[in-house]
Chain length 245, copies 6
């Protein structure tokens, strides 16, 4: 049994609320338990220098935490004058995994930036960011299609992310901050709705793990992401209804 009473293979309560950032071309507020992240997509008609004149679009991400999203206050990165290694690692991961399910030729020369800002943090912020950012990106493309700025939808697959871990009793799905701090192994899975893998990161925090343990974590993640795909689809649907209403 977990401290929260949740089953070992259960997600925390999830909600994905579209339209939270009023000005963004697509946005959601995603909640996984007490973790809350605003994901906002911005469309700009330019590409980074290394992509110019190739007819390809770009999808990138930035990640941040409000200073008091955490248990004790974290210093503001803007005040310190640089983004931490952790921040950069996470935003590179978000951008990379979204690009794996986008046909960048269909985008033409535009950039979509996904800003993932953590309002409240309780573990799993990078996974919530990815799951939410996929919806925000989809909404941005939806709106470009509606405005005829695009001909075809560039999304080629549906992804969601979830963390898993190993404690002394075995595998655990969707760790909160407390569980994450005490897990011996920490893993993040970014999976597709058709059961393939976009990214796996597994780290032995304390002691090396076996390939059997690796398989059980992957199985748990596959189970968990199935629910997330449903929540994503509901959010897409809700926004469509709202717009056509």
């Amino acid at each position: 049994m977990r401290f929260s009473g949740r089953a070992r293979n259960a997600l925390r309560p999830v909600s994905i609320e579209p339209g939270f950032a009023h000005h963004a071309e697509g946005s959601v507020l995603i909640r996984m338990g007490n973790t809350e992240v605003i994901c906002a997509a911005t469309v700009e008609n330019k590409v980074p220098p290394f992509l110019r004149n190739q007819g390809l679009g770009w999808v990138t991400a930035e990640y941040g935490m409000l200073p008091r999203s955490t248990h004790t206050r974290t210093n503001r990165e803007a005040a310190k004058g640089k983004q931490s290694g952790r921040t950069q690692e996470i935003q590179r991961l978000i951008g990379r995994s979204l690009r794996a399910v986008v046909n960048r030729k269909l985008m033409g020369e535009m950039t979509i930036t996904l800003d993932c800002d953590v309002i409240n943090a309780d573990g799993g912020t990078r996974c919530a960011s990815i799951t939410g950012a996929w919806v925000a990106l989809h909404l941005a493309f939806d709106s470009l299609l509606q405005k005829k700025a695009l001909q075809h939808h560039p999304i080629t697959g549906q992804i969601a992310a979830v963390s898993c871990g190993l404690d002394t009793h075995g595998p655990l799905l969707d760790l909160d901050y407390q569980e994450d701090s005490s897990a011996a192994t920490d893993a993040n899975f970014i999976l597709t709705a058709d059961n393939r893998i976009v990214e796996i990161q597994m780290t032995a925090e304390e002691k090396p793990f076996s390939s059997t343990e690796m398989h059980s974590l992957l199985a748990l993640a596959q189970e968990g992401t199935q629910s997330l795909f449903t929540y994503q689809n509901k959010a897409l649907h809700a926004e469509k209804s709202r717009k056509t209403a």
Copy 2:
């Protein structure tokens, strides 16, 4: 008549929702029309070096905007590696005006940092930050009193802030982004509930203004802040009810 249909001396719809930042010692989400700011108070048992061993507390503030809180995306200050002059000016203003209504001897050697983070921006973000931060600061002191970490409440006055401007038809209360961009004069007033002044900033954006115009703007601000004091008190009351419930 204003574009939004509002009367020239009317505030936008206001709400102040306490407890938005789960981990903070005091917090609110303040909304003034489409402007939304999270204000979170953090208590730390230390003071900056220049105050050590003087038995005085410190109140300070930091301000930030989510990159897509604005109409077009604003570059992330953490990524650029520095805070803009505007950001620093605003956060200095927030901290300074709160200190004017705090008895720092009663705090003892502790620091309270108010993080004001703009989720959605539509004009008047610095004023909303101050009005919300005063509530968050009050809640943080309330909780310190309840925990017996303080003997007496250090708040010595109630402040709220509102912007005013001059357009071709005269004075205007609580400008939204559109109105702010086209006003000839832009003013911010930080006033107390007992009708005194903590800070005035008036700027001729296009052409110098007269002292008569100055007076009419001040009168308008005094009227506007009266409502804000009521909203603040309701939020304080709501949180108290929630805690004792």
Copy 3:
């Protein structure tokens, strides 16, 4: 009576010496008591990116203090790697108030930068900077007119700045460092020669002030700036005489 023997409504001794920066298109050394600031105007045939191809000029300012202009040495901002919030606030104020009295269409696409560098500091450096910078800017335009680089003089008004404060005996004009440190309220007024207002900044350092006090400070500032306009005009005249000699 003031510590220095000055009357409560008296300025410190003022002098404005043109031509101090040999290479600048316009420059002065302004002294207000022991406060000394070099103001130098630089003309460049380009505008910032956000103004390109609009037929408008730009006026901006930068502010700095020599490390030992202050009672105890202040760390060099170039060595620390960033400008303080105070520096940025002041230079934004200088640029903004000068732009309020310039017809930027008459400038065409050029930028004038006013460098205000404090050689010795004894209170009121931002006000001395503005009063001096207006002269330096005027001289730069004079020289552009003489060279036929401009057709019409873009200056639309005359501005000067002075600080006022409230101590326990009431209002006080043109505070020196000692007076500034102990004043309960601190105010800066940027006024025009035809009795209008360009910018007002009033701050309660210790306790909120009344609107009556606000009015008495404004009246004092209006009196003080009248003398400053005379000093500015003398400096403009002196430079003209020198050039035609």
Copy 4:
């Protein structure tokens, strides 16, 4: 067949030469094909602030590339004034994976920093860094034991790292730069000599991969690291012989 003629499951030629950094407490020059990395261990009798007075040691890493270690020159990070996200990601990975096989209680309060500097880059620099750093760390502990600065050897396991990828013909071991650029999936495995896993990072660069593919890559990596463990042991032995000679 690979462009280089290598078998699909073959490592490039490997050498690990101890003692390359004369002043370091432990060091190697590791070569994997044309990839060459200097790994140097520095022992310091202090720990980072967050670890003080806990009786635990710290192992950390920094990573860098000489500007012309790459095909075209890469700008020097010291000149740009910051480390890239890639650099930070790699150095966090190196430090984290070494800590997984160190008993930090046995270290006492000391820090060992592994500097991994790439002299020539041809793919797989992070893996070469980890494989080499483990030897440099071991040598540093050896020398501390010999000087009686430690009682027991803190190393609890042997790790090595290797990259794998998927191209159109299937799995591929130890990718060079050319192969890495064209692989559809890119994976890094950090494995222990007793067949367990310390870290897995698998990324779909172009299209998502299946769990079957995941397994085949892991099997290939397990095969490849076996040779690396032998090279590491030879290097440790060579250094011991040299010292006792």
Copy 5:
């Protein structure tokens, strides 16, 4: 003949005016032709970490140019966020050469910082800085002796600096900006009043020079510094007279 009419072995007009920075423990405004530098000495009762508890003092320098001290405006280093290589090279030189004529044991654990800020630049700013800084440093020690904060004067020698160059007609003393830009060889000499050498920097800008040319430049510098020593002594004397008056 030189463009200015000066003899090839003549200095430009020199003046050294003490007391320019009102708050500094010692200061001068030095003029060499149109080059003008404020040199201000600050005394602080602490030493850098690497010198703690050794009973030795420290003398260091910082150098800066006002943005419009130059023919065309130079960007402000504080705004750019870093000091140029040239700035750092010059301030290291000033500090190093002053330390060569100070007995740091006699200072005890104090630091004296010489701020050399160029108000107007017309070549030879580093030499003027050193010549002026020596006087400012001497004045600071004088005042410490008078206050009994020191027992013995720590200055062990008198230094002055002058630039020399080679043009197509041979050696040239004390180059102005125009001459400096076109000289084939550029040299800076820091010499003592008893005819010894503290630092020599000679650089072939265009073509290598001979040892004979080196000797003729040294001879010229020795001649030039003799006058500078006289100016320095007059300034020291003037300040003493003023203080005892």
Copy 6:
């Protein structure tokens, strides 16, 4: 006698090994005793903005030390976010002295950057960098000539650099770290094969020196560089043989 047994006028063992940086257009690993530096030349078809459209090439240098090239670890400049004054001074010196023996018109509009990275440091790293960089630059030009990218070889002279110092027994050639730390005077000479001077830097670390001492140091340096020219020529020859083999 020196601690190492070397004669006072003897160089340490020297070797210059070409081709160390596989990707560079020209490179060497130079060893002077335990000092080891990789010098790598990069050719790019562009010039810095201040040289555009003038038909002139540019030669510049960057310098760095691996963190553990030194006796105790030096913090990584990339991690600190800036290059030290010493680093900038050295890289400016390397670039400047190479430009003195290059005909930049013959280069056309290209830039050659010499990266000098110290692998192991034991005194004299800037001199070793210059001596090695001249060979790397020559090799880069050789390869451009061979590819017909240049018509004429732009090198106009041969330079090498050596340090000298004065200890209590007199002049000393090619100081190692230990000797350098205790020398009273420290000098660096960059000389040409036809006996002329490109740069002299002589610094009294402790007490001023005489012009006689200056001459004896120059004579010693002239003797020392003669051997270095021979080593450089051998390296050029070796590389040529290897390429034509």
